[in-house]
Amino acid sequence: MGNKCGEQSVSFSQPLVITSGANIVGPDEGKGPLASYFDLILDDMLFGEKSWETAERKMLEESAKLALRKINLQPQDIDFFLAGDLMNQIISANFAARGLGIPFFGLFGACSTFAEAILLGGILIDGGFARRVLLSSSSHNLSAEKQFRFPVEQGVQRSPTAQWTTTGSGAVVLDAEGDGPRVSKGTVGKVLDLGVTDANNMGAAMAPAAADTILSHFQDTGTSPESYDLIVTGDLGKVGQEALLQLLRQRGCDPGDKVRDCGLLIYDLAAQDMHAGGSGCGCSATVFTGFLLKKLREKEYQNLLFVATGALMSPLSCQQGETIPAVAHAVAVSG
């Protein structure tokens, strides 16, 4: 198995190129510190649609089309479309794929979906099954709240550890060749569970998976925190990030001040009252396609480890008292 590396990592025979990236975000994200990095900021959570669910799928479809348009590609130039979201039966991705007409793999990795898509897309290209793939994931605050928590107009207080589901969708084109940041290797996460049951504290549920994937990545690929300018986790939030740092230190790895989190980058927590930070497939997807890709292109960052984390519970499993399993997938991207 030539390109498998260590226990759970892959190393591509030649780096794959992210030739295009695009994103669409909601009004709250447009008021955050990363506003200038987004392609389109919606002023209406409905995006001209009749429901939040249709708004989310439109966001996903439009961000995917925008990623193609930026480099003058048509859907028929793409071999496979890989996408996912948080809705039951991943309806946002499925319905967007209906509109795009590209051979499609639907993915579910909760908030880790974007990294999962990059990994799988890379494996498809490196395995010789595709030349060019389109990858996307989305989330919508109101459709997610409706599915996972209380009705939006319900007058309840949120827990201070709760994260805010980002409204946004990001898409990238991954190509065997071309210009752009390069993906050289990645690590497929194991599903871990350290017994957290509080769905309002998903960061804490996901931190052990993030720590495990990061350490496995270093071990499998012979890298260390020094190999990267930044380690960017997807959606751990304030509590999860602190838990991650402590878990890493407990296991003898000190990442210094290199750890960032998409959920903390996307909002101004104090001014926007976002509690523990952002979450959702759209959070890491928009921060990656907006902020991180730009910084990689401008060579401000040379090497990044992007680690998207997903909490794999459902409202049903939580009601039945189950603990929250989580997964984290990592991809190494260089500028």
């Binding site: 009749k50 429901s51 669910e53 409706k146 209380f150 009705p151 939006v152 107009e153 319900q154 007058g155 309840v156 207080q157 949120r158 201070p160 550890t161 350290l194 017994g195 957290v196 504290n201 804490a204 052990p208 304030k238 509590v239 602190e242 838990a243 402590q246 878990l247 523990a276």
Partner: protein, 154 residues
């Protein structure tokens, strides 16, 4: 290591992690929440009391005036929910705006609004009581039990 040992080790790891998370977690400000709840909850009750006095002054009997007051407060709670204001009050007041009857109205109107895209039968009709349903079920059950106890004691 045998099965029991493994399970013990897993439980230890989980307990250790639980303590770690507890030490990081931001805490609710209990005193501030109590003060907010007291002020807003008290204000809602004061408004109710004013309506009660008003209706009594209009010549309604004690029971009728109470029913008219409850109806008015439910209407106000529903209206504020529909206008998107009640969730903001709730965010500040916590239990202060959940416990009074306006909170009950909010808990019915909010899901009704949320699910209107799914139609009047499987949406509004079926989901309207997802939050208030348990309150109605156990409220009714407890009143029956208390009623029976009261009956037996007489």
């Amino acid at each position: 290591m045998d099965g029991n040992g493994e399970q013990q080790a897993r439980e230890n790891r989980q307990e250790e992690y639980r303590l770690l998370v507890e030490s990081i977690k931001p805490k609710h400000n209990l005193l501030q929440n109590c003060v907010n709840a007291f002020l807003v909850g008290g204000a809602i009750c004061l408004i109710g009391q004013l309506f009660l006095i008003f209706y009594s002054g209009q010549g309604l009997g004690e029971k009728e005036a109470a029913a008219a007051t409850a109806g008015t407060m439910v209407f106000i709670g529903a209206l504020l929910t529909g206008m998107g204001v009640y969730d903001k009050i709730g965010k500040f007041a916590g239990a202060g705006s959940i416990v009074p009857i306006t909170g009950f109205a909010n808990s019915i109107v909010a899901p009704a609004m949320e699910y209107k895209r799914e139609g009047f039968v499987f949406g509004v009709g079926a989901k309207m009581f997802t939050v208030a349903g348990p309150v109605l079920v156990y409220g009714t059950l407890i009143s029956c039990i208390i009623g029976i106890i009261y009956f037996l004691l007489q």
